[in-house]
């Protein structure tokens, strides 16, 4: 059977509001980088190259969230130029840590950081790419897992649907033979409601998962509350735990609200 005969596909990497960590994952594939360069033409990747090829692109990796009006325009252009668009990371798939602003007043935030907030031009919300354009595949994580990134690129290059398991972190945790930190140590862990992909890193290092891969396919946060409370977490603690890198992902956002509701009446009762 002949080898892949097609013309080398064009790969592009685009960045919106982010820490650059997810695209760095590509450069962190030290063993595969040159092989990848043999398999694709890197058409646009500002972090790594000043060379830019014009679109359309066969595969676009998009990092970061939408936080300015200019971003809104730019992501539409990217979409128009991309055959397959893959969002990478919590910023791009859920709004990232900067979506914490969605719950509060941005102007106030700007004042805390900047003496003269009038210089800062930014939207009130940080939103995932899928809120603005159609996304073909999502890679979760803050940051993404580089093995998953390679698996997705290899799949797309072979016209295969990438297999991105969306079940809980617990499945991976058990595959690794870890001792459950929640059951055996009483450490609160978001593994049961968090999307797999990291390989159950945190439990492997004896800490509870803090949800950086965002909500799993089935996110029963109401059920998990029992275990978190049994492990000594307060409603405030639980609410904060959901409010990190995937704070704006709907199931986590709801989970946070479920907790906040339980705090507020108590305060009222005291007063």
């Amino acid at each position: 059977m002949p080898t892949r005969k097609k013309k080398k596909p064009k790969l592009a990497v685009f960045k919106f509001a982010s820490c650059d960590g997810c695209q760095l994952s590509l450069l962190d594939c030290e063993d595969e980088l040159l092989l990848l360069a043999d398999a694709v033409r890197i058409a646009s990747f500002a972090e790594a190259s000043s060379g830019v090829l014009r679109g359309p692109y066969d595969i676009s990796l998009v990092e970061g969230s939408i936080t300015t009006l200019h971003d809104v325009e730019r992501i539409r252009e990217v979409r128009a130029q991309s055959r397959v668009l893959v969002t990478i990371g919590a910023c791009a798939t859920a709004g990232g840590v900067q979506a914490l602003r969605n719950f509060r007043d941005v102007k106030e935030f700007a004042r805390i950081v900047y003496a003269r907030p009038e210089y800062i031009d930014t939207l009130a919300t940080s939103t995932p790419i899928a809120d603005h354009v159609k996304v073909d595949y999502e890679l979760r994580g803050c940051p993404i897992d580089k093995r998953q990134l390679l698996a997705v690129l290899s799949a797309l290059l072979s016209d295969r649907k990438p297999s991105i398991a969306s079940h809980s972190v617990c499945v991976q945790c058990k595959l690794r033979g870890n001792v459950c930190v929640m059951v055996a140590h009483g450490t609160p862990c978001l593994g049961p409601v968090t999307h797999a992909g990291c390989g159950a890193l945190c439990p492997t290092y004896h800490r509870g998962c803090y949800g950086c891969f965002g909500p799993a396919e089935t996110t029963h946060t109401g059920g998990l509350e029992w275990a978190l409370v049994a492990a000594g977490a307060s409603h405030e603690d639980i609410a904060r735990t959901y409010a990190t890198f995937n704070a704006a992902a709907p199931p986590f956002r709801r989970a946070q609200e479920e907790q906040l509701v339980q705090i507020r009446p108590k305060e009222g009762g005291r007063g």
């Binding site: 919106f16 030290e30 790594a48 000043s50 700007a110 900047y114």
Partner: protein
């Protein structure tokens, strides 16, 4: 005649910004390093968070140097809580930091900066003619990442850093497994320094104020006094008295200055110049062999300083691993209290200063973070002011490349400061 040179994207830097240089004739009239990376308001998000969450949250400021953020935050919070992670815990933190320096410097030297000196768009194009060097560089970078992944759980945003130490400390065997990779990388790094020393460095010097940490015995990572070649020598608690942050309309990053003096340079070249005597034998010998010795005022040679620091970090990492015995507990016990603490560590790109005020429950009341890139931003602009006449005399494309290279000397991490550089050189002849 008005001449405008415009380059829409300055690549191979972390983040988004633009560069504008305006000329009247050969004279620059404006130099603006425009950073319009959308701000991410970390200091504001940190308010109300528990102290244990801070290292995880601040890591997300920058994917390139998350360990630096975690280290400065831990030190500042530990300072507030009145504890110190000593002994093996301290050694492990240094080891983790070594990993990040190796990785970050390796990335910059081989993938971002060297292509400038050799005239390529990127390391991949460079690899066509210089495959062995790129392969060595990737090997060095990988060695750094291997340390971070082993100790921190993963290369980017490690999950194992905790106020007071770690969540889990490695076994001796886990660390020893790294040794062969590190030994190979160390030998390669020495060869690469010799290779890089032969690059054609533009003759460009300026009378910089170099600022860095200085420690009594060690090449600085996490601790020391803040010193400069212009007489500064302060405790890090006094940082705010001596440094000021200014906001400029063309940037979402704040500019730092030494009060009363102005721009300064931090980062590898500053550390090298101020701490040459603290380098280990292996790194010092390597630097001397290629006749790279302080004081060096040519910022293009910061690439060499990075290479020397890679050697230093690999050498030190190997030493730490040889001397490692797992500590009794992965972290020291911590109890929250109301207090303010300061932490300053040497990120790959330079000093990273944090200050936190905690309430009695250990929730953050106030946070301040001064990243290296905002400290260097003014210095970069000043370099470009001085470089401008040279640029004006050069053909458009070459001028643009040279200006970008000058910015890249600093390995600016715009994600940190708040990213993508667009360069516009406008000339009015």
């Amino acid at each position: 005649m008005a001449r405008t040179i415009k380059v829409d994207s300055l690549a191979r830097v972390e983040g988004e910004g633009a560069l504008i240089i305006r000329f009247k004739g050969d004279k620059p009239t404006a130099v603006e390093l425009r950073i319009f990376e959308p701000p991410r308001f970390f200091e504001a998000f940190l308010r109300g968070r528990a102290y244990l969450e801070v290292p995880d949250i601040v890591a997300r400021i920058c994917g390139i140097c998350p360990v630096a953020y975690q280290m400065s935050a831990c030190h500042a919070i530990e300072d507030a809580l009145g504890i110190r992670a000593d002994g093996m815990l301290r050694a492990l933190r240094r080891l983790l930091y070594c990993g990040e320096w190796i990785e970050s410097h390796g990335l910059h030297v081989f993938m971002l900066h060297a292509p400038d000196f050799l005239g390529y768009e990127d390391a991949i194009a460079m690899a066509k003619d210089h495959r062995e060097w790129v392969t060595r560089g990737l090997g060095i970078k990988k060695a750094g990442n291997a340390i971070v992944a082993a100790l921190g759980g993963r290369e980017i945003h490690p999950i194992n850093v905790k106020v007071g130490g770690f969540y889990r400390v490695p076994t001796r065997a886990e660390l020893s497994a790294l040794l062969p990779v590190l030994e190979t990388a160390l030998g390669d790094a020495e060869l690469c320094l010799d290779w890089a020393a032969r690059f054609d460095f533009p003759a460009f010097e300026r009378d910089y104020e170099f600022v860095a940490l200085r420690h009594a015995e060690e090449y600085p990572f996490c601790e020391g006094r803040i010193v400069s070649n212009k007489g500064l020598d302060i405790d890090l608690h006094a940082y705010e008295e001596h440094f000021a942050e200014q906001q400029v309309p063309h940037s979402t990053a704040l500019h730092s200055v030494v009060r009363g003096r102005g721009d300064y340079q931090c980062g590898p070249l500053a550390r090298f110049n101020l701490n040459f005597d603290r380098l280990g034998g292996r790194a010092r010998d390597a630097a001397q062999r290629v006749e790279f010795v302080p004081p060096c005022h040519n910022v293009y040679k910061s690439l060499l300083a990075r290479m020397v620091e890679i050697i230093q970090a690999l050498d030190e990492a190997i030493r730490i691993i040889h001397g490692y015995a797992p500590p009794d507990a992965p972290a020291i016990a911590v109890a929250p209290r109301r207090a303010t603490g300061h932490g300053c560590t040497e990120a790959p790109r330079g000093m990273l200063w944090h200050k936190y005020t905690l309430d009695e429950a250990g929730l953050v009341e106030d946070a301040r973070i001064v990243p290296p890139t905002s400290q260097n931003q003014k210095c970069i602009e000043q370099d470009l002011w001085q470089l401008a006449p040279t640029l004006a005399a050069m053909p458009h494309a070459a001028a643009t490349r040279r200006a970008e290279q000058a910015v890249r000397n600093f390995d600016p991490c715009i994600s940190c400061s708040t990213h993508f550089l667009r360069l516009a050189i406008e000339r009015e002849d």
